[in-house]
Symmetry: C2
């Protein structure tokens, strides 16, 4: 199959490599020409615009940062939407508001383009290994068009029904938990440091106890090492928890913990840590000495 992938960031780069390894002809496009050139050197086909890529592809996968970038990729100058083949499928992998994703399906349907709501999770290493998780929803025809492509990129494809937007809803519920758990891990570690507990001993006990979370176990080693090099940045959760809260607010639904965690990430961002690793949210706590600081 001719597969187009737009957005060669940490996730997109690995997904494109997995697609090529699975035997697909892979077309790529990115604002950064050097990212395109690197993938072309590995055996892919580069395109200067989403329109050029779309004209050559049976499936177009978008792995950009947010809804605004997805809009630009589809409907901006030299956008993909006007150039896509009739009956081709657009696979939307960003974290976006569910209502926006649902509306996008209708807008593309009017152009005879199939649509799969397909947010992803798993990180760069899993993307490169073809083992990401996809939270998908869409019409049977969209699955029929994209199925072989999904299986080439993902270790697990959750099929959540035929209503586009459901994949995005499940993704933002996951982001709610991920964001609250990172902030809670930071709060717990901060309390332990405040009380004079050895941070490594605390980590060892918590990861063996009922207070553990995937995020505590994954992020707190960054704090123990005093290394805030961004794998995923504070500002990602400023954005993602913002989407979570906007979605809930549309029906006046209260989210006390998500809103508190969002405040903590915004506090960290405005204090100057927005581009550091999201575990840097621990820096909002005063009166403690973090490992690696002295």
């Amino acid at each position: 199959m001719e597969v187009g992938l737009i957005g060669l960031g940490a996730m997109g780069r690995g997904m494109a490599a997995s697609l090529r390894r699975a035997g697909h002809a892979v077309h790529v496009c990115d604002l950064r020409a050097e990212a395109v050139a690197a993938f072309v050197a590995e055996g892919g086909t580069g395109h200067a615009t989403p329109a050029s890529l779309a004209a050559a592809s049976d499936v177009v996968i978008s792995v950009v940062v947010n809804a605004a970038q997805t809009e630009a990729v589809l409907f901006g100058e030299d956008g993909a939407a006007a150039a896509m083949r009739a009956g081709a499928c657009f696979v939307m992998c960003s974290t976006v508001a569910p209502a926006w994703s649902s509306a996008l399906e209708s807008r593309l349907e009017a152009l005879d383009i199939l649509y799969l709501d397909a947010p992803i999770s798993g990180g760069a290493a899993k993307a490169l290994a073809g083992e990401i998780t996809m939270m998908t929803a869409g019409k049977p025809a969209a699955y029929a068009c994209s199925d072989a492509v999904l299986e080439s990129m993902a270790g697990r494809v959750f099929r959540l029904g035929n209503r586009a937007g459901t994949g995005s809803t499940v993704k933002i519920v996951n982001q709610l938990l991920a964001g609250v758990h990172i902030a809670a891990a930071a709060e717990a570690m901060a309390l332990g440091l405040r009380a004079g507990v050895d941070a490594r001993a605390l980590f060892e006990v918590i990861t063996a106890s009922a207070g553990n979370s995937w995020m505590f176990e994954n992020r707190m080693p960054h704090v123990l090492a005093g290394d805030y090099t961004a794998l995923s940045a504070v500002d990602i959760f400023v954005k993602d928890l913002g989407i979570v809260l906007d979605t809930a607010r549309a029906t006046s639904f209260p989210l006390p913990l998500a809103s508190t965690a969002h405040q903590m990430f915004m506090q960290a961002s405005t204090a100057g840590y927005g581009r550091e690793d999201d575990s840097a949210v621990i820096k909002v706590f005063p009166g403690i000495e973090l490992p690696g600081q002295s």
Copy 2:
């Protein structure tokens, strides 16, 4: 060894059985005579008062609900403290304020009684299997006196140093995370229900994703089944998060997520769900239909 255990609740009952299975002579005491009689029928020795139990024991283990009950056990009418053998060790397993635990060590030292700060976690099934986790701190002499007893009850004994109170600090950090994670699991599930996502599909995705926590995986099946029979009650987290917040407040340390989660558990308690399973905190969310409700 002659081992005394006070408090035959869900945890104490299993710990006493594990001690007996390991070959210790086990003395028990509980306000409920029928709980004592049941253990005596299995081969233990029953006592009517903590004082009587203490006079017969080399190690006294207290597995009561809180600091107030521990005070009563030790210093109330027919309390254990005045009756304990010189050089015997008191093992304190409740969730309490670290500063109170630290002060208790000094109070007992004046009576020539050794002290181990030793909160536990793991639940009734692990207690019965002799596989609880213990978060301990105390002087070398206290460990020397109680070591064989700890190993008979616990799958894992964390030794956190010689400052009594450190075990309690690590336990309340764990309770901070446990409480926030239960409330976050409820909030996330509530948002999914509000958005019309199938609750079982959501559970399946989250438990396979970065948003997972030990508590999400353990408690949300109660919500899916609509079964709020208390394994651990809402009011336990009203109490435990209260201890967490009091401890932090003693040094004016902010805990934004723990305080928010505490409000949610108090809201659930005052709405009438205090004795239901802690997953019933999801009932504070309006405008959703929970599984098993209709």
